[in-house]
Amino acid sequence: MKEYSIINTRLPRVDAHAKVTGDARYTDDLSMPNMLYGALLQSPLAHAKILNIDVSAAKKLAGVKEVVTSSEASHVKFGVSPARYDETIFCGDKARYAGDEIAAVAAVDYETAIEAVSLIKVDYEELPCYLNISDATAEGVMPIHADYPDNIGAEVHQEFGNVEEAFKTCDYIRTDKFVNKKQDGAFLEPQSCVAAYDLNGNLTLYTSTQSPHYVQRTIAMVLGLPIGKVRVIKPYVGGGFGPKAAASTLELAACLLSIKTGRPVKMTFTREQVFLHSRARHQFFHELTTGVKKDGTLVALKNTCYLDGGAYSSFGIATIYYAGSLLGAPYKLPNMKYDGYRVYTNKPANGAQRGHGGVAARAAWEQQLDIISEELGMDPIDFRLKNIMQRGDVTCNDFNMSSLGMKECLEAVKNNSGWAKKKSKLPKGKGIGVACGFFVSGAGFPIYRSETFHATAMVKVSEDGGTVSLYTASAEIGQGSDTILTQIAAEALGVRYEDVRISSGDTDFGIDLGAYSSRQTLMSGHAVKQAAENVKQQILGALSGKLKIPLHDMDIKGGIIIFKKGKIDFSDIRSNYIKEHRGWTNHPAGEHLTFAEAARIAYLEKGVLVGTGAYKPGELGGKYKGAAVGTSPAYGCSAQVVEVTVDMETGHVTVDSMTDAHDCGFAINRTNVEGQMQGSLSMGLGEALFEEVKFDNRGRVINPTFGEYRIPTSLDMPNVNTIIIESDEPNGPFGAKEVGEGAIMPTIPAILNAIYDAAGVRISELPVTSERVFTALKEKKKK
């Protein structure tokens, strides 16, 4: 292993000071002179024709500056994947879910805007609303979108190998069903944006987004503006987890209102509106049939999945593919068949959320694998190890595991959890369970078909050589990318951590697809590393010319120039530097030539000292339809062992301890890696045990608050024994790959498997409430 000084450490985050002092500014903290406040009118009905909209009373209210509806707004359709653009800024002829946006108001203050919204009169004709898959796909149904008469918005059929033939060779085959519930992102910061349009025709949007780039493109496309006239800036973002990865009506309406009024417009969701907008985890109905040999060899998997999509496609076209493609690995499985159906329903649209598309599938399969291992009389860890993939293995759907520490992860959680002493040996009501999982390290392709670079970066050195400015359009949303990219820049250039100042999240800084699919460490990291190395070469090149020393005999480390062949006389450079900084008191001193002095030489030669980097993935596997979803330059993986207590009287489940090993390739920041692991497990625990967005029979969310929709508190989460595995990913910068999503994969099934070990019942419907366990225990007693 190479020696590093900045990366693979536990340096504090670059934004930690700003965040602990309250100085960090989030979008809703911004205000501008003359700023207006916007509010949205959203449909109270889940499916309704809009017959008439009367905004006259709203317009007359004192303080109201603009009211816009579909009549005043662009009808250009947008969404996430161009193949499924199915949204407009406002509903035209009909509303498709309770919460669908109908109009927007800009007024001098928020209270006036809200009052104006209440004065807009809409005549609706209520239509039959479809709140589940069977109702939405019944005979003679009314289409939610005219283009999809049967309400099936997307279908995927894939087969790798030959599943039916393979099943004939199996000794044991079983089929299980599994269903999760719609989960909410539940990030702490509600979406917010401020749009400012100026008289030169420039539109600047400050927004709490995961992807400034996608928002910029969508706004330019829908509002008919040149891309160069639209600048999207992301202030600090209070969590995203997926739902903030696409442009929304909130952003488009604010832009439209700013253009119409010529004044800045701020719009912020209430917590209820966050639930209504949603774009979070789908509900998945999986049916899995897995076939194995007597000796435990996995042979074939048939996976059928129905996804409750909600009213629009959002990220759903990717979700439906991921719900199939993220099975198979990390096990050697030669035959896999997948049939997926994403159904439109009259509920808030579902989209991407941490572990995109794969979390329910993984829960279903890892529980089934546990059942199979028991039927075969094998230890669940031995069964998994028997089938485990290793570095260099390629899945039947062409995912190249260019690094994979899956075996090491499994062995680590086994050895660190006391597995051998505990499995099947704990007292009644106590149990232990295991599961594995993997995830992409960046989507191999952008969400729109394009040859675009996925990330660019620019490193500029100040004229005194003292400060390195890093510019990237990547999105810090809490996961720590600003810190990771600063560390990468400092390490690659050879300067100190504190000498690099990062500016990120602004479309003026370049191209970056943003914070989704666990891509930024690998992809933005590559671009940043390249930019830093590029400027380093420029500096050493100039120094080489000045000192007449070959470039390769020099290096930069820790802010000083290393002369590999021994001491060099650089007194001319130093005295000149000091002469140029008369009056300063912090002159370079000591026996080493400093980075600042060397960079100054390069500056004096070039005038502009800038290094650039750009990254897009190389050739990836898979020529079949849908190969673009799931193929990635690298894959992270995770194994977890969980211990639970099940109250055998009430069915209440408590998670007592969690052991998690994750292969992140190479940890740029060890503290951040652990933070991602612990955060992932917390979100998984919430989905496993209590999270569920609930609806009434007219499609209205009945629990749109953190009081009614429970996420884990500090009393629900146990401490996690976090183990970092490093497999040195050849396609990652310094060997690094993802951690933010792979770590959630094993959590739910590990809990489910532990519940079985504790109580002898298998739960196939989330969340695992006391009632579900209690009922299962009662059923078991009857038998």
Binding site: D15, V20, T21, R25, L188, T671, G675, S682, G707
Partner: protein, 156 residues
Amino acid sequence: MKKLITLFVNNNKYEIAVAPNKTLTQVLREDLNLLGTKEGCGLGDCGACTVILDGRPVNSCLVLAVQADGSGITTIEGVAEGQKLHPVQQAFVDHGAVQCGFCTPGMVLSAKSLLEKNPHPTEFEVREALSGNLCRCTGYQKIVEAVEAAYGTKKE
């Protein structure tokens, strides 16, 4: 009609006219420009708006500004002493207790409030004191570790 109230925020005296339906969160953010106090739900569920009111941590979104008339309030802006971070803040920095940061001001204030009353809390006491402050990013572990370490009470 607006009512004239006096607030002692971070040891500064403010006399302000506020509408009777304005929450303390709104007045701190909008009238006093103390933007470190966050609003995550407006319903008292998430704890992001936590401030210390007359020595007790409260959800400032559930307090009407007029109710706080005459009270002493500490917001996140009043925790550090100039450039010197409070031990809780420093521990949050050192232990990786910050991710998105939206819950952080409330967490720091709840933790500070606990440690002032109970400088040697058990892990459970820390978790109990923070249970009204939701965090979706960290899984709480590094926050709990930071609070335990802040006053050097963590048993290694």
